[in-house]
Point group: C2
Chain length 589, copies 2
């Protein structure tokens, strides 16, 4: 037996108990007559004392213990003279009567402490040491609990978890597939699922009614920061539902998770159309922890002889509160440079300061009288102390730039408060996006998304321009500016699905080859259905106010898609290639 | 809104309620003035009545409904005159006042009933229809509940569910890997995990202490009946544990699952050594629902002048109770042919009938006096009416043959009772198996399995012959003759792990290239640890007394590894091949 208790368990009420603990040496301190060892396991840290007077051999053995040695200690629980109120076990210590070294440890390449001194690469290579750190332990435990609470809630709502297959069929639509050569079917490949989309729809056709799954998905994309080639989804689908029932169900799930895991009662989940979100925030995932809605200023500011505004499609601003007297010219210049960076791409930044004393100061003061500017400010709810920042140009571009500025001001002014969570449903997305380069439509959500009921006729009979205006019965859940998930009511009618494939540029043959099974299934009594998928890694990070998903994944890959610890991917044997009937086709460098 | 209630919900207490139901037409019966429709969804079946007198249009619409049409019906709940006591909703029916056809259906290629008239291939191709059948719905729901209860129990025991990666590294040991070409790392491949073995051990080194996961695993093997290329495991690992603690934990899980899902209180889980299991049953997974232990007869039957027995290494039998007077000569002959089939491979079958009247009848009567045979029978507990079946030959082979005969007699005599569950821990497996063909050792469990503590010294210092006698700290859970799972205490010492790799024929370089990360991890304070994995598909089938796992998997593959519904695997585009830097190397036929 390695332990009678764990290292987070013993308390003052256990004094006198004979105990055996096993764990890692967090630190060992030698005070001559006494040696103190902090023994750590997943559950906590307990102090062990070795006394030179009582047992010299044991104490000398203890002096040789290095950090991260694995030991087993037996002894009696006693009260500490020097208590540590910051530790649940801080009132007691173990007077050691025996010690076994279960395993030694080399000196770790970085310290196993909350704030590690290891860089990203070394932490990835020695992930087993990084995972010992408390913040990572907490993240991975949070993730485990998040999954369990998700499952309990879904079960309470009568959902069935069904495992869909991982070895499926490659479809060149959307992102790139990871593929798997089939040994038994020469020259053929499986693909790893980008999502279980078609299978969950098939489950609805199969009568499962309410399906969910917490499931790994795969996308072979060039990895940007915080993208992983394999990621986890909470994937759901329901039959005989309208959009509102789907939103209600997953609002319920989200509330439950925040309540159970964070003790937070979420406020209302407002709904906002895609068009409104773009108009008010220049983004389909606005952070609602703060206001700063867009102010459209064409009417107010065009026609006053300021050519830059007069010639712009859109003149639009945001109001930053209470900074007019504090923000220096230097800061304003720096902010102008910030919006002019290539990543943002604004030509310039106009501001109107409504100073504390009621006076106006503006970069466009020579084009507008103070009266005009004051009226603009007051019409848009500004108070003395506020600054109106204005961008102008082509509408879509300018909105995106102003979205970046709004978020940056939110960060600078501390408006994105930790512990504050603002959920939002964004609804009524466009069904199709016209891509100028390839001259074809793309599905904004995916090819299985239904148009809104009132747009079905226009979709079946309309012309090319009409298609651009179709709205999808699609929705996204956004929390604090992060997209947590999205979904839609699906097409369940073969004719409408075929029409959609047509619009997306599939030939009949391509549609049949790739999705024939789904089209066929629609002919055997497919029920109306819809669903949603939440990004599980993202949800875990957002609930903890963190922006990176990597520390919520036990074994993440780096930006080149490599697992640094196991050193994968790697070459395989020629025998394996031969068995799979493939050959390498690597260009000499 | 598509429904106010589901099709399994309404009762006699709901009479008068206005309701809306949606579902599939199970059957429609036209009785002239009245048309009855059985409306089905996941929750049950409700009878709908359309009345020609009340609403002619509606009734005529209803007459046109085919099987599997998807409809929405509104109406009032009323008491049935002709009640159906076999159906929870059988006391009521809905008097329809409106009908919407949500989707039509072609005539299904087989009937959606408990006993389908579809063959395997057609059922696989139209899996969405097969999944509508009640037995499959029940299986998939059972599986969902089994997973949830597993998770709840593991959580109650402080286990953390951690997701391990799917894109890992190929290791040519063991079964064949499925591999995934990496686009970003030219000429390199990921492998899909055959199990999360090394990752769960890394998690122990990372201090997670108690890990579990319900996880998909992949093996590219030639598929025998009831093998799937992707399958699901309950995968577990614990730190600071001995074998007995692991067995106790997973006995607890198994008890919990039988209790919660089947309402069955399992009896004791006996432990049996591998050697005993092989000696008593000729199998490492004996079915303990019935006895028929092996009787070794060398001492009793050799030296009596019967050359076949005298020259055999082993003479061994089983006792079949109460059939001596019933089993005809013809049946005995048929049984002899059965054991002589190439799949079994016995040379012949000897029997000794202890007839009801106390007399003896035997195929070897001319070599043995009745007194000798009677003594053998009585010494081995036979009673009048029993038959002793005897095989002889080389020990290992003969045991296997007799195991097959024992199981066959168990089946023929109805000794494998439905609803009877007999769990068994088989322990103390050999560590290494000598393979005559390749002249090397194979790991009986896997290369990370620890020898029993008392065998460590012999392993580190012994000669070649010694290695054959090493016992592993490994264990299997067997229920009713099916292997539910297996595991072991692992090596956590770098030196011992290196020694094991040596024995298994790895060069130092191979061991480092494939498992360097684990060997390195062992140098940074690896705790003693061990674990187990249960076959989840198998567990679900065995708990339901079924032998095939296929109907407990929503989307299984056929014996050629094909998904018949989506028609995968399939060829991929040249562009995809080029991006992955691979070429097909398919032989012209």
């Amino acid at each position: 037996m390695y332990r009678s208790h764990n290292c987070g368990q013993l308390r003052i009420s256990d004094i006198g108990v004979e105990t055996t603990l096993s764990g890692w040496v967090q630190v060992s301190r030698d005070f001559g007559g006494l040696t103190f060892v902090d023994l750590r396991d997943r559950y906590g840290i307990t102090q062990i004392v070795f006394n030179m007077d009582d047992n010299q051999d044991l104490c000398e053995q203890a002096r040789k213990l290095g950090r991260e040695f694995v030991i087993k200690v037996s002894g009696q629980v006693r009260e500490r003279s020097n208590k540590n109120p910051n530790r649940p076990t801080g009132e007691i210590e173990i007077e050691a009567s025996s010690l076994d070294i279960l395993n030694a440890s080399k000196v770790p390449p970085f310290t196993i402490e909350d704030e590690s001194d290891g860089g990203d690469d070394i932490r990835m290579e020695y992930r087993y040491l990084d995972l010992r750190r408390t913040p990572l332990q907490q993240n991975i435990r949070f993730r485990s609990k998040l999954a369990l609470e998700t499952r309990k809630y879904m079960d309470s709502q009568d959902f069935i978890e069904v495992e869909t297959p991982f070895l499926i069929k490659s479809t060149p639509e959307g992102a790139r597939d990871f593929v798997v050569p089939s040994r038994m079917n020469e020259g053929q490949f499986y693909a790893l699922p980008q999502s279980p989309q078609t299978f969950k729809q098939i489950l609805m056709v199969g009568g499962f009614d309410k399906y969910f799954q917490i499931v790994k998905c795969f996308r072979d994309e060039d990895l940007r920061a915080d993208r992983q080639p394999e990621f986890t989804q909470i994937d759901c689908e329901m039959s005989f539902v309208t959009r509102d029932e789907v939103l209600k169900t997953f609002e319920g799930l989200t509330r439950h998770l925040f309540q159970e895991l964070k003790g937070i009662e979420l406020g209302d989940f407002p709904w906002m159309s895609y068009d409104d979100a773009m108009a008010m925030y220049g983004s389909d995932k606005p952070d609602l922890r703060f206001g700063m809605e867009f102010k459209y200023l064409n009417d107010a500011l065009q026609g006053h002889g300021f050519g830059v505004f007069d010639s712009a499609e859109t003149v639009v601003g945001v109001l930053a509160q209470g900074i007019a007297d504090d923000y220096s010219n230097k800061q304003m210049k720096e902010l102008t440079s910030w919006v002019q960076r290539p990543q943002i791409g604004a030509k310039g930044l106009v501001y109107v300061k409504y100073q504390g004393d009621g006076t106006i100061k503006s970069t466009v003061g020579k084009f507008y009288s103070d009266e005009v500017l004051l009226k603009v400010l007051q019409d848009h709810g500004a108070k003395p102390g506020d600054v109106l920042f204005i961008l102008c140009g082509e509408e879509e571009k300018t909105r995106k730039q102003l979205n970046e500025l709004r978020l940056e001001m939110g960060r600078r002014l501390g408006l994105m408060k930790e512990g504050d969570f603002k959920p939002l449903w964004v609804i009524d997305f466009p069904l199709l996006e016209w891509d100028e380069d390839s001259e074809r439509f793309h599905a904004m959500h995916h090819p299985f998304t239904a148009p809104k009921v009132e747009d079905v006729d226009r979709m079946l009979t309309g012309d090319h321009e009409t298609m651009k205006s179709l709205r999808a019965d699609a929705y996204d859940l956004v929390i604090n500016g992060s997209e947590i998930g999205g979904g839609s009511i699906r097409i369940h009618d073969r004719e409408l699905q075929s029409k959609n494939f047509d619009l997306l540029g599939f030939t009949k043959e391509e549609a049949q080859a790739q999705f024939g099974f789904l089209l066929n299934a629609f002919e055997y009594g497919a029920p109306p259905h819809g669903g949603i998928a939440f990004g599980f890694d993202r949800l875990a990070a957002v609930m903890n106010g963190q922006s990176s998903i990597r520390d919520f994944i036990a074994f993440p890959k780096n930006n080149q898609g490599r697992d640094m610890m196991i050193d994968a991917p790697s070459p395989i044997d020629q025998t394996q290639l031969d068995e799979l009937s493939i050959a390498l086709n690597v260009q000499a460098e």
